[in-house]
């Protein structure tokens, strides 16, 4: 016990360390080296280098796992690197890179190009690292807060924009309340197990009756905190406002990265640690899932702001992903992983196209700003079609695959009624996604619209997200293997 920092600890922690280090360094660089906004594009390169280092560290961990079997645990079981967490780490890495790529043009157009932006992106990813890898309550909580606080800042990053500030404040208030709930839940779990490590809590929970009131209290508050983070109804109120006000690039990051990280934790907590108390939390999750699909779909139908529309669509998707957890069998868990993966790319892609519409003074957020996009930028328009069709879950795009697993898992576990509800809502969701399709392809704009704000970065990001959205749909085998590997222990 005298060794506080072993080489295994270092090996496990290294990616997070790198991210934090590069993140902090960016702040200093910005201050001393790149005073001119135009030069700050170079910081993107710095982010890419940081991610490359982190990527190498993850790859080495992956190779270690492949070579040795077994998981890597560190800090007396406070952190773990297993196939499951690595799966998410790769998603976070890709997300951060893509968000970084699409950001510089956007920030220049909005006249808010500050170097700390890139630093904060990496810090947020550092927080996500602990959400996916943390197996100890305090570690998890600190990771969650690291992520959340960077997001509070990023949402309000457009300093001169009232809406952005308002969104940040709302997000901060509601977010800290949910963190409070989560902390409360964690403290109850700690009280039950007399330990903050998930392993001990798992055993303690299994030893108790699922309907034990104290346990119930712990489960309910933990669930509320996490449902808030994944923006599932009825804890979704913050999402549309925060999404609308935040810089579009950050909306994308929030919708994808933050949600994926929270799902990583949610799945570890509920399918793993609290798995034996399933009877107690299953009704809660079912209610949240149905509500999310209902609220998400019905509210999205009437939105005229594309970011709000996608916010509600995200609430709807959270509902679908929860269904995978509710089914809880291997197919369902695999479904959650696959769903999170495809959701990442299709949603990033959709936001990316919205980002390119941004122009000075006019945010390009109204549904009508998409009008005639096919005429103006056929490439963007066609990829947008792929993303929207995928979000709607229509084959042969990746989105179908997520829905496929969710439906199959529900049928396998006998939740047929839920499956029917979920299937019926697919038709509703098509309605609002195709409102966007309609604007892009069918309607035309009378006045001459300004050109798109694209850059090499957005082109690359568009290509990658588009190719993956289509590619995972057409040839999913490698990705399914990856997901399969991540849940087999």
């Amino acid at each position: 016990m005298s060794v506080y920092y072993t080489s295994t600890d270092h090996f496990v922690l290294l990616p997070a360390l790198l991210l934090a280090l590069f993140g902090c360094a960016t702040l200093i660089f910005d201050l001393f080296i790149f005073p001119e906004p135009k030069q700050r594009r170079w910081l993107l390169l710095f982010l890419v280098i940081g991610e490359a280092f982190a990527g190498v560290a993850f790859a080495r961990q992956q190779m270690f796992l492949a070579g040795h079997g077994g998981d890597l645990t560190a800090f007396n079981g406070a952190l773990v690197i297993d196939n499951y967490s690595l799966y998410f780490h790769w998603i976070f890495l890709a997300t951060t890179l893509i968000v970084g790529l699409i950001s510089y043009k956007y920030l220049e157009v909005r006249n808010e190009h500050h170097g700390e932006y890139y630093g904060l992106l990496m810090m947020a990813q550092c927080g996500m690292f602990f959400l996916a890898s943390g197996t100890e309550l305090v570690t998890i909580f600190v990771g969650l807060e690291t992520m959340a606080i960077t997001f509070y800042i990023l949402v309000g990053f457009l300093r001169s924009d009232k809406r952005s500030n308002e969104a940040a404040l709302k997000y901060l208030l509601l977010g800290s309340m949910s963190s409070g709930f989560l902390a409360y839940g964690f403290s109850v779990l700690y009280g039950i197990a007399d330990s903050t490590r998930l392993q001990a809590i798992t055993a303690a929970v299994a030893a108790r009756d699922a309907w034990d009131p104290i346990l119930l209290l712990g489960i309910a508050t933990t669930a509320v905190g996490l449902l808030f983070k994944i923006s599932a109804a009825p804890f979704h109120m913050w999402a549309p406002d925060a999404y609308e006000g935040a810089p579009t690039t950050i909306t994308a990051y929030l919708a994808v990265g933050s949600k994926a990280a929270s799902f990583a934790l949610l799945l570890r907590m509920f399918a793993g640690t609290l798995g034996s108390a399933r009877v107690a939390w299953e009704p809660l999750m079912i209610a949240a899932a149905i509500l999310s699909m209902t609220v998400g779909n019905l509210a999205a139908v009437t939105q005229t702001n594309t970011k709000r529309l996608l916010a509600y669509s995200g609430i709807n998707h959270a509902g679908y992903i929860l269904l995978g957890l509710i089914a809880g069998n291997p197919t369902g868990l695999k479904g959650v992983l696959v769903y999170v993966l495809v959701y990442t790319f299709m949603n990033l892609g959709a936001f990316l196209v919205l980002t390119s519409l941004t122009r000075q003074g006019l945010a390009g957020e109204d549904i009508n700003d998409l009008r005639g996009l096919m005429k103006r930028a056929p490439g963007h328009a066609l990829w947008m079609l792929v993303f929207l069709v995928s979000l709607a879950g229509i084959p042969p795009t990746a989105g179908f695959l997520g829905k496929y697993f969710i439906f199959l898992a529900l049928i396998e576990t006998g939740h047929v009624a839920l499956a029917v509800v979920a299937a019926a809502y697919v038709a509703v969701s098509v309605y609002y996604y195709f409102r966007l399709v309609k604007a892009v392809f069918i309607e035309t704009e009378e006045s001459e619209a300004p050109p798109l704000a694209t850059s090499l970065g957005t082109q690359i990001a568009l290509g990658v997200t588009g190719a993956l959205t289509l590619g995972i749909g057409i040839y999913p085998e490698p990705f399914l293997r990856l997901a399969q590997m991540s849940i087999s222990r």
């Binding site: 069709v389 042969p396 439906f407 047929v416 299937a423 038709a427 195709f434 399709v437």
Partner: protein, 513 residues
């Protein structure tokens, strides 16, 4: 049989599409020419299929098999039997006709228009040749998006409403059908320990009647909305009326057949006890008869020429489903033939509306009258199409309707009695339409001096007329090619119906390779 003929047929439109994308959209003639060439090539490569198809063999031919998603047991498995062959030929042929007929009609965004048609061709062919249920589902959904655009971009005044309604209806049915597919998939895995979507494998399932009924209704929603059967038909008049002519042609001739094909290919063989269950058969037959009569009566009332043809589709498709659920040989064979006939005759009727719409830009019946004096050739073609649709002997419509009525009579005399009324009404609304538009004096000044059919329009109609006569005069080849597959389906439905609890008695349906 290791040829890749089916893949060739399937991907010819997509290959053409890839080239089309590189033609600059300003070069309209080249785009049209290329799209037509691709469609013609698509039809030509499908000819060897019918010529080399051996009608004396049981099971599937031209089978191609490759793993697609091995971890889910999804295969790229395609093959044809007699029913599919006819459907594929119908698709490639009508696709050519539809694309050719758009030459003058479509005047903006040609590139996208033809691109959508080509994607749709691949989707429709895929539906008819898939032997893997998930592959089938992928193609089934793939068809929706292009049709949405064809209606939504190039359609009439209410195109947006019609397009999204079409999309939502068919998608909702499709997703519920997916649940049925997944149920079978899961049941197969728990009975045989192997995940597969292969249809011949799924047929080995022995499911209790209750479960079969649930799955049947799930399939029913998918297929019945597509057909469309009576209470689900409301999307059809809108979609047909608003779609551009070629879109209506494809919609009527091929897209709707995906539903009836689904019943024949999936509902009946996969769920034999449910589809021979008394209640279900009665419900389906009654819905079909309501469709026949309702469609015909509503057609009588229409003021809009195109809407009339659209509602007549509901009526004709009612015959097709009635034939299927007569559950005898004549009924199913008649139904398939009637599906082809409906493709030809209703396709022709839509083209006829298209011809006049291009000249006058209105579809109001009362705008017309006495057109026979102005456009005599047009009137002849219309008369031909009308009689073919109404089921005049020696033309195609008669063969199908007669066979179905005969089959319905065998199954239940009351059904036949009601269905016959549909034939009478059918003759009534068509003849009345003809009278109002073609005969009498030219009452509307605007109709004077309308040009008669040009060579391109002749070129569209002549092949269809030849095919209509060919089926009407000599339908035997069609019955021959349907003989084996239909016998198999009928045998399967009746055999299992008689011995519900009799375990895996149906392994004789293996794929012949």
């Amino acid at each position: 049989m290791t040829s890749n003929l089916l893949s060739l047929i399937l991907f010819t439109p997509i290959a053409g599409l890839l080239v089309l994308l590189f033609i600059p959209s300003s070069n309209k003639t080249l785009i049209k020419l290329w799209a037509n060439l691709t469609a013609a090539a698509g039809f030509l490569v499908s000819l060897p299929l019918i010529m080399n198809f051996n009608r004396n063999l049981d099971g599937y031919q031209f089978v191609e098999r490759a793993d697609w998603i091995p971890s889910l047991g999804v295969q790229y498995l395609i093959g044809v039997d007699g029913i599919s062959v006819l459907m594929v030929m119908l698709t490639t042929f009508m696709g050519l006709i539809a694309i050719f007929s758009s030459w003058d009609a479509i005047k903006d965004r040609e590139k996208e228009y033809y691109a959508m048609f080509l994607i749709q061709q691949t989707g429709m062919i895929g539906v008819f040749i898939s032997m893997d249920f998930l592959l089938f589902y992928v193609f089934w959904e793939l068809v929706l998006v292009p049709m949405y655009f064809i209606i939504g971009v190039w359609g009439g005044p209410r195109k947006l409403y019609a397009a999204i309604k079409f999309f939502l209806y068919t998608l909702a049915g499709g997703v519920l059908m997916l649940l049925g597919i997944l149920t079978l998939y899961f049941q197969h895995a728990s009975q045989f320990g192997r995940y597969t979507f292969e249809i011949t494998e799924l047929m080995k399932l022995n499911l209790p009647l209750g479960l079969q009924q649930w799955v049947f209704w799930a399939f029913f929603l998918g297929f019945a909305i597509k057909v469309p059967m009576f209470p689900f038909h409301t999307w059809l008049p809108d979609a047909h009326t608003e779609a551009p002519t070629a879109g209506s042609v494809i919609l009527a001739a091929v897209l709707l057949k995906m539903g009836t094909y689904g019943f024949i290919r999936f509902s009946l063989p996969l769920l034999p006890s449910a589809s021979s269950d008394r209640t279900i058969v009665t419900v389906l037959a009654v819905l079909s008869i309501i469709g026949i009569l309702y469609g015909a009566l509503v057609s009588l009332m229409q003021q809009d020429w195109k809407k009339l043809v659209a509602y007549s589709s509901v009526s004709h498709l009612g015959f097709c489903t009635l034939g299927i659920f007569a559950l005898n040989h004549a009924g199913i064979a008649g139904s398939v033939i009637q599906q082809i006939n409906h493709g030809i005759s209703t396709g022709m009727l839509f083209l006829i509306v298209g011809v006049i719409y291009e000249r006058r830009h209105t579809r109001e019946i009362k705008e017309y009258g006495g057109l026979a004096h102005v456009m005599p050739n047009y009137a002849i073609v219309f008369a031909f199409a009308m009689l073919s649709s109404a089921g005049l002997p020696l033309l195609n419509g008669f063969v199908g309707e007669f066979t179905i009525l005969q089959a319905a009579f065998d199954a239940n005399r009351v059904w036949a009695a009601f269905a016959v009324l549909g034939v009478i009404f059918g003759a009534a609304y068509l003849l009345w339409l003809y009278q109002r538009t073609m005969l009498g004096e030219v009452t509307n000044e605007k109709n004077k001096g309308l040009p008669d059919l040009n060579w391109r329009e002749w070129a569209v109609f002549i092949p269809l007329m030849i095919w209509a006569v060919a089926i009407g005069v000599y339908p035997k080849p069609y019955f021959d090619i349907l003989e084996k597959p239909v016998a198999q389906i009928v045998h399967r439905v009746h055999q299992t119906a008689n011995s519900v609890a009799n375990a895996p008695a149906v392994s004789s349906e293996a794929v012949s390779k």
